[in-house]
Symmetry: C2
Subunit: 280 residues, 2 copies
Amino acid sequence: MKVLVAEKCGFCHGVENAINIAEKVLSREKDVYSLGQIIHNGDEVERLARAGLKTVENIEEIRSGTVLIRSHGAAPEQIARLREKGINIVDATCVLVKRVQYIAEELERDGYKVVIIGDENHPEVRAVMGCVRDVVVIADESDLHKFAENDRLGIVCQTTLSPDFVGKILGAIGRRSFSELKVINTLCKEAIKRQDSAVQLCKQVDVMFVLGGLKSANTRRLAELCKKYNDQTYHLQNWNELDKRMLLGKNMAGVTAGASTPAWIIAEFVKNLEAFDGGG
Amino acid sequence: MKVLVAEKCGFCHGVENAINIAEKVLSREKDVYSLGQIIHNGDEVERLARAGLKTVENIEEIRSGTVLIRSHGAAPEQIARLREKGINIVDATCVLVKRVQYIAEELERDGYKVVIIGDENHPEVRAVMGCVRDVVVIADESDLHKFAENDRLGIVCQTTLSPDFVGKILGAIGRRSFSELKVINTLCKEAIKRQDSAVQLCKQVDVMFVLGGLKSANTRRLAELCKKYNDQTYHLQNWNELDKRMLLGKNMAGVTAGASTPAWIIAEFVKNLEAFDGGG
């Protein structure tokens, strides 16, 4: 099988940084926790677990040692509780995510009703929500009723959304009655480059594979975008999930991967795919 | 013919105010000018011309006397030139239009690139353009190339646009790369009420008449909106323009009018229409 890999894919700077920090801390300490999965990639989480990283969902589960704040960040209230318990904190929050938190706080200070465009169940969004007193999360147009008409809205967005989606929601907000909108673009440019490069690639191939965790928002976004232009698009976690029938009659495959997908997963997948001979 | 008149239509507060001021000035002075048509309604302009109001297109044509600044406003540079010439100025600019001018100035002071959503040939927009040093006017999506990506945009809109149109343009801007948008809603609520009431009415009738000047932006907007929901929509200036064929087979007519359409035009039209018996 001929395989083309997207020009931009795999670990972004924020994820790479979090993994590097985790490895450094694990090399010198024993009792190391991650509050929630350090990145949304099961394979990488498992690899770090073997190196000693304990993933917990609640602060209550941490009694002592060091806790890593993952790239998605944590709410100030969580940080305060960790401090109270005397836990050592190592912050691996992505700088772009941290920026969203600061901006949300500033918008609220300036009297805006803070609006986050994104998924309220995603840890990045939850952490931003925790930075302000009053907040509305807009996942799609059906959420617009959540703020009053004529509000002064201070709008940020989850870093991994696509510009198209943000435009769609801004258009829908603009059609309603509002007094003022202040929108700070908090999209990650790396994520946009990955999206553009995935879309470009998927149009040239018979089948497109998007590699990454099923909970990874940016990977899911890549898969959604590719699906629009190539219905032979599959979101897989790794080579083990490949069903050979996906390759039936295909000559050219494209591969991209989310920002939390480690290089070794991509390399393994590409190697096996190149070696595959379906007689297509 | 059964005739229903839109709940909200005809003169808005701004236009009424400008006409009242014009009549007051004309009653006590002889040499009275309007810089451009005082409102976009030929019939009313003619009526005021008979009362002595001279409409001129250029400041050069005014040598002495009093000049009325129409409801659409004038650029500061024009006001300054009138002052230099020692002309007496009576300002009849609509307060909502004046507000757009102040906001545009403030946005520029705050470092935003000023964007006006609207028609750059409309006097209201031209006056706002004259209040800032650097400005981009967006009439539709094809104008978006006019500002650089990653600009901090301070956005206002022509007061008589529809929320739907503003939403569409904001959506298109949001899809592009920008660093910050500050959007102040400068739509006229009266104009929106007229739009809503016209749309509601046009859905109930066999034929819809939108009365008002052909240059009147808000009247044209009403006609566009009604046309969407009722293809038997006609934009007419007055009863003389009615073609009887428009009424063939129709039992129920709707009438609305722009914010610059005087009550006497509407009353005359409705009276004649009610008296019309096409045997429909």
